[in-house]
Symmetry: C2
Subunit: 372 residues, 2 copies
């Protein structure tokens, strides 16, 4: 079952690369649902990716992200660039009217062949959403879309984790979220490459711009060399090489401050400021490419993806293997308070270690394991 009329992976890849909308949509659906039949095509597709510049857009609810993305798409199209949009929607497991309304509005661009818009929903697993998003970006990239925008409709940490895997990250803020409250928490500031204050025709826009600038400057002072706020790609990955900031460490502060991420004002409803925003994104892209930081950032992101995939695989194998029963036994002892978590963890590791560590071995290739 399932092979009736199923196209061969090479055929799927050819159709995707030719921009066939139906094949693209179907491949995304299959990737989203975790269909293992699409893996072969995704593997073949991989070598045709890496050309698109991936832009992540995130911000608090009510900041007008969807309208802004709509106008970004419009502006890119006017400049002759094709655009794919992946809306992580709704990251919230609860649905709401506004989200649906935004999506319907966005579909107004569906007749333009240079635009492909796709929503991805959480299906009960964060890891699954992140993986589906990465695969959707790759499919759109291979299909030839020159810019791929990942838009978060929801506002959880999970969406931030997804969007920070983009090449350029736009953090959208808005005036009026409350007095004396920072629109964006310090921990999230680090992932921003371009800062946008949307709905800038509202009172307080200039104050929000000043606050963000002040936070960026403070962060620069706190991190010393300030490399975290330059597009180092290493900002959010502990494993990335620390030498990405080396080139700027000995510069004078004034030259350095000029390199802080730009903070721009937009009014997405009217399109005001969106042209300048696109310029800023393209300038960030050019800087990443010229400096070699694009490669560093993508490498760090690939490491994060590889680690997540490895963890998922290790756990799946653990549960399926002989240690799965031990895990359940230890969980029972944890639940009844016979053991604490650290004790259970160490015992589980001891069992895995003593049994020749089936955790790390591929099934069938672990010579010490009989009857596995």
């Amino acid at each position: 079952m399932g092979d009736r009329g199923a196209p061969d992976p090479e055929g799927v890849v050819d159709l995707i690369r030719a921009g066939d909308a139906r094949t693209i949509a179907r491949a995304i659906t299959r990737a989203e649902s975790g269909d293992p039949g699409v893996e072969a095509a995704l593997r073949l597709l991989h070598r045709h990716t890496g050309k698109a510049h991936v832009v992540g857009v995130t911000g608090p609810p009510g900041s007008g992200k969807s309208t802004l993305v709509d106008k970004l798409v419009k502006t890119y199209r006017e400049r002759g660039l094709s655009v794919g949009v992946v809306a992580v929607d709704p990251s919230s497991p609860f649905t709401g009217g506004a989200v649906l309304g935004d999506r319907i509005r966005m579909q107004g661009r569906a007749l333009d062949e240079g635009v492909f818009i796709r929503s991805l929903a959480t299906r009960g697993s964060l890891g699954g959403l992140s993986k589906a998003c990465a695969e959707t970006v790759r499919i759109l990239d291979a299909a030839g879309y020159e810019r791929v925008i990942i838009e978060t409709v929801g506002v959880g940490q999970s969406e931030v984790d997804i969007v920070k895997l983009a090449d350029s990250v736009l953090l959208v803020s808005v005036p009026g979220l409350g007095d004396d409250i920072q629109a964006i928490k310090a921990g999230v500031m680090e992932i921003g490459d371009v800062f946008v204050v949307n709905k800038a025709d509202r009172d307080g826009a200039d104050r929000v711009v000043r606050e963000i600038r002040a936070m960026l400057e403070t962060a620069w002072v706190n991190t010393g060399a300030g490399g975290r706020l330059i597009a180092s790609g290493g900002a959010h990955h502990a494993a990335s090489p620390s030498n990405t900031a080396a080139g700027v460490a000995d510069e004078d502060p004034h030259a350095f401050l000029a390199k802080l991420p730009p903070v721009l004002k937009t009014v997405a409803e009217t399109g005001e400021g969106v042209g300048a925003l696109v310029e800023a994104v393209e300038a960030h892209r050019a800087k990443l490419v010229e400096s070699g930081l694009l490669e560093e950032r993508r490498k760090a992101n690939a490491a994060a993806e590889l680690k997540a995939a490895l963890a998922a695989r290790v756990l799946a194998r653990l549960e399926a293997g002989p240690a799965g029963a031990e895990l359940l036994r230890l969980a029972g002892e944890l639940a009844t308070r016979e053991r604490d978590l650290y004790d259970a963890l160490e015992t589980l590791e001891g069992i895995l270690s003593a049994s020749g560590s089936p955790l790390a071995g591929r099934s069938g290739t672990n010579p010490g394991q009989a009857g596995d």
Copy 2:
């Protein structure tokens, strides 16, 4: 540094068990920040936990969760039960005025010694938040709070994942989220033990109640024996024993439908229906205890916690060990499209397997690994 005046773990545990508010608050802060110095106390504390009944409350934005939790606390207090509240706040990495306002209102109960309210914020890591939440619940449990409420202020999948680890889960809905839109997605329905339609004085409340009931009945039909919607604890954990539903599989449908989760109407602002809601939660608790399902559920939750902790530890060790360099090399080849993800994953596993699997072994106890 750090040991000046630091109390011994036994002393900390004694103070927490005596209900000393300052020690409780400090232990939570240390657990939240990942301070390894608190681990010894948490280990000792574990055996004094398991007595509190943990209630999770989640729902879409605007459903009035915070007000409802406030009234739940009030009602429990009137019944002579002490209550701890852990607000996962803001699960969103973006702050907002409403959240702060809610918190300030809740602090009106701060003078009551029978209530302890604590907010936990996302600090850049979902795993970290989940772990901090579990540890905070344990601290409040050991401190003698008889009911511990986990309230999600945010609405992401991550918050749902956290709240479903409670003993009883309340899913809060509200009329007016939009026509023809389900207030709660089907995938989230499964985690609910008690369904609440809040702001029930609004138009459409009865329709939302009917819709939720219809969804529950449909889910019952779809899952056959319907065990998923009874408080089986196995609803959201693939690893849990499948026999938890066995006791109900041969019952007649009418008796079974009566066992579907209750759907209740409340008006949290006035307190209307909150008494009945507390009754429903307590009835669910009694059912869990009497049936033995509480133990099953806690065991499944412990297994989930153990797996998450194991995955985190495995990855940390991988990065610190000799395979960490291999991971970075493979990530580089992934980024430059020399390899695809599956290829890189298999190669990494092969390296780990061939090197005697330091992944699964504790450092210093792996005889085959020299120079580690």
